[in-house]
Symmetry: C3
Subunit: 348 residues, 3 copies
Amino acid sequence: MYPLKVEQPYPRNQWWVAAYGNEVGRSLLMREMLGERVLLYRTEAGDAVALGAVCPHRAFPLELGRLVGDSVQCGYHGFTFGADGTCQRVPSQSGVPQKSALRRYPVIETGGLVWVWTGNAEAADQRMLPDLGAIGLGCADWAVEQHAPVTIAARYTLLIENLLDLSHVTFIHATTIPGGEQVASIPVKVEESEAAITVVRRGENLPANSLIRSQFPDQEGPVHQHFDAQYLSPALIRTRGAMSDALTGRTLGTQNYIHLITPVSPTLVRYFVNTARDFATDNPALGAMQIAMGARIQPEDIAAIEAIETVLQSGATLPTEISARVDNGALKVRRRLEAQIRKELCPS
Amino acid sequence: MYPLKVEQPYPRNQWWVAAYGNEVGRSLLMREMLGERVLLYRTEAGDAVALGAVCPHRAFPLELGRLVGDSVQCGYHGFTFGADGTCQRVPSQSGVPQKSALRRYPVIETGGLVWVWTGNAEAADQRMLPDLGAIGLGCADWAVEQHAPVTIAARYTLLIENLLDLSHVTFIHATTIPGGEQVASIPVKVEESEAAITVVRRGENLPANSLIRSQFPDQEGPVHQHFDAQYLSPALIRTRGAMSDALTGRTLGTQNYIHLITPVSPTLVRYFVNTARDFATDNPALGAMQIAMGARIQPEDIAAIEAIETVLQSGATLPTEISARVDNGALKVRRRLEAQIRKELCPS
Amino acid sequence: MYPLKVEQPYPRNQWWVAAYGNEVGRSLLMREMLGERVLLYRTEAGDAVALGAVCPHRAFPLELGRLVGDSVQCGYHGFTFGADGTCQRVPSQSGVPQKSALRRYPVIETGGLVWVWTGNAEAADQRMLPDLGAIGLGCADWAVEQHAPVTIAARYTLLIENLLDLSHVTFIHATTIPGGEQVASIPVKVEESEAAITVVRRGENLPANSLIRSQFPDQEGPVHQHFDAQYLSPALIRTRGAMSDALTGRTLGTQNYIHLITPVSPTLVRYFVNTARDFATDNPALGAMQIAMGARIQPEDIAAIEAIETVLQSGATLPTEISARVDNGALKVRRRLEAQIRKELCPS
C-alpha cells in the first residue's frame, strides 16, 4: 500500500502505543489498532490489560459489557473472561466451552504510555521497545508534556514521511514555528544505525528567535540549532531541537518532540505527541507554551496529510513519484519498514 | 454470510411481511426487500398489489410516479403499467414494446399484514405461510397491538439469533422486563417439528412480579411462566409468556410477541412487532402497556444487534465462534435456514 | 457502464468544459474531470492553464499551494512548476529530478468557456470542438446567459439521455415550462449527420403561450415551434425552440439552450447551461427570465436523474430495458458514443 511496496500495510510484530497510561482505568476502553479491536482496562491491582474486544460467543463488542473484579462480563449473554483472557463462566451451565479464551495482547507500561504488542504473543520482544529514557520519557531530569491524542484520516506512513522531511516546516508552518522559514535551506545529512535512521540538519549561527529567547532568556547572541528527525521504530519518531551558544559552544539544552504513531486501520492513524526538555524543567510555563504551540502546529500537519490521503483515495491517476536528495532519509525509512513487514510475511 | 455458511444471505422462495395493511393505500409506496425494490399500493377495489418498482424504460423509480386508476404512470416519460404489471400505454405511439411488463409479486394479506413472495411467482406456496390464527393474528378472541416498524442496521440473522436466545434478557433488559433477571438461569429444552423449532424455558413457582400483577390483578400467589421462543419461518418468530397459577395449575393466559422479520438488504432488516394476548382482551390498558414496554425494550435489542453488525463490518479478525448448550436451538435454526437457502441454490 | 456497453465510461480524446472563463483567474482552482484532478489558473498574460493537480513529489494537492508568477509552488515542500508543467525548482538543492514535469492539458478558451482536452495531448484536435458560433456562443448578434454550474450525483449519460428525450417535459416540467404538456404528443423525427444527431419535434399551429408572448410581445396568433435536441458531442447538447408565425411563416426567432456536460467521475457530472437567443438581444429582461426559469426547471431534471442513479447504485436487479420509437435518437447517440469510446480502446 502506497507508499510501501508490500502487501501488508503495517508490521504486526511491533510495540505500538495503545493509550496514555491515564486513559486506561477501571472501565472498559476499546481501541482499534491495526484493524483489530483491543479491549483495555486495569486490574484491581492496577495492571494494564489488553484483550481481544470481540466476544467469541456471538461477536458482541465487549467494551459494552462490564468489569466484575478483574474479569470482563459480556453485555449480551453474560459470558465472563479473566484478565488472562480465559473464559471463566457461561450462564445457565457449569463449565465453559473449549477454546473459548479471548486473545491476550502483551502489554508494557512505561514512560506514561501503554504499549501493546500486536503480533504473536510468543514473539513479543521487549528489546524492540526503543530506549525511552534516552529521549526523556520516564526520567526525573526531563520535563514532559503529554499532548491530547488525535485521530487522523490518513495512512500512518504519511505521518512518518511528514516527520522525516522537515523541509515542510518552511511551507506548512512558516507562521507558527519561529525560525521555520529557514529549515528547508539547511543542508541535510543522514545517519544510519541498527537502532535508528536520523535526518540531521545543523543550523549554525542562527539569530536567537522568539522561541529560543523564551526557552533561554539569557541567550542574546546567535545559536547553533540542530534539527534532527530520528526514526526509532514505525511507532516512534523523535524530532529534536538541540541548542548551543554559537560563540562559546556551550550547550543550552534539548527540546524533544516525541511522536507516537499507531495505525488504527489502513487509512487511519492515532497520533500521540509528547514534548520533553532537559532544561528549565522547573518552569511549567515552557510546558504550557509547548502545548499551545502544538495546538497551532498540529492542525497544519493534519490538514496536509489528510489532503494527500484524499488524493490517494480519489482514484485519480497519480503521477510517477519523484524524490529529491533531501528525501534520502525518508526513503531509507521506507526500505527499513518494508523489510520489517517482509520479514513477517516470509519469516524464513 | 455470517453466521450462515451459504453464499446467498436469504431464501427468496419465502413469504415476507412487506408492510402492515394500513401502510398500503392509494398512493405509491416503495419498500426494499431482499435487495429488490418493490412497489406497493391498493387497487380501487382495495386489493394490495406488489410490482417491481423500477421502470423498464429508463430505470426511473416508479414510486415517484402516480396512480391513475389501478395503473401506475411513470413520472419521467409516462409509461403506464396495470396492476398485473403489463405495460398499457407508451406516450406518443400506439402499442407498447414487447416484454415490457413489470415483475408482479404474489401477495397475501392476512392478519393485518401484507405478505409478499420474493421468489419465483410460480413457486409461491400459500402453505409456507405460518398459521397466524394459532398465534392470535386475525382472531376475534385475541387482542392484538401492532408496534411501529423499525429498520435496523444489521443483517436479519442477528435479529433471529437475538430472539432465539432469551438468556440475553437477563443482561440487556434487566431493568426493562420485570422478572428478566431470572431468565438466563432457567434451564432450556429444544422442541423440533416440521413447522417449528422451539426453545422452551419452564419458569416454575415464580413470584408474581409487577408485570404479572398488571396482567392478572387477582393473582397473588406464585406462577408458572413458560418462556418459549418459536421459530416458524425466517420471517416469523413467536416468543411467548404462558402463565398459570403455580398452586392450582389453572391457566391464566398467554401473551404472544410476534416478531416479523424482513431483510431489506444483506445488512439491513425491517422489523415489525405484534403483541397478542388471549386474556383481558377487552382491557385496552394492557395493550397500551405492551406498546410502552416495547418502546423501552426494543431500542436495547437494536443497540445490541447494531453493535454486533458494526463489529462484523469493521474488518477486525473475529475470534473463532464458541457456543454454549443454551445455543442448541439457535444452532438448529441456523442449520434449517441454511438448508432452505441451499435447496434454492441447488433445487435438485 | 450502464447504459453504455463499453468498459470505459467516457471518451478521453475529447474536449470538455472545465469551467466558465470567469471562474479561472489568478488563484489555483482544482476541478475533477473524468476522475482526474486538473489544476486551472491564468498566467499573468491571462492565458488559461490546465495542469495535473497532484505533486509528483509526495502527492500533495497542488491547489493548496500558491501561484508565484506563472508558476505553481507546492504547499508542502515547495517544489515549483512552470505553466508548461516543467519542474523549475526543488528547495535545498540545485537542479531538479528527471521526469518531474506535471501533466499539461491542452486548453482552448472560446465562447466564454475553458475547454480541456483530457486525452493524449498529441491527439488534441481542435476540429473536434463543435462550432460554437453557429449556436450563438461568442457572437455579437446573440444574447447569452451563463447559468450557475451544478454538480449532479449521477453518471453523465443520464443527463445526455434526459436531454435527448424531451417527452419528459410533459411529465417532469408540466408546471414549469409553458406549453410543456404538449411536447410528448408531438411526433418525432431523427436527423443524423457526421456532426450531429438531432431529435426533431415540429410543433405546428400552437397557441401563443405565456412564454412565447413574453419573448414576442407582438405575437397574438398561433405559432410553429420546433423543439430540437441536438447531440453535438458528449460534452455539448443544444436544445432549441425555433419559433415562426403560423399564419405568415415569418421567422420570430430562436431560443437555444446549450447544455455543457462534463463527467467528474463515473457517477458524478458537472453541468453548465447557457441560454442564447437571436431576437430581442437588447432586452435583458428576457435573459433574467431564462435564468429564473432555469432555476425552477433544472432541479426537476436533477431530481429525476439522481433518482435513477440511486436505483442503479442500489444493487437491485434491473428489469430488462425496453425502448419506444421515441427513443430512436437517444439510442443512436448511445451507439455513437460507444463507438467513440471503443475507438479509443482499440485504436487500430
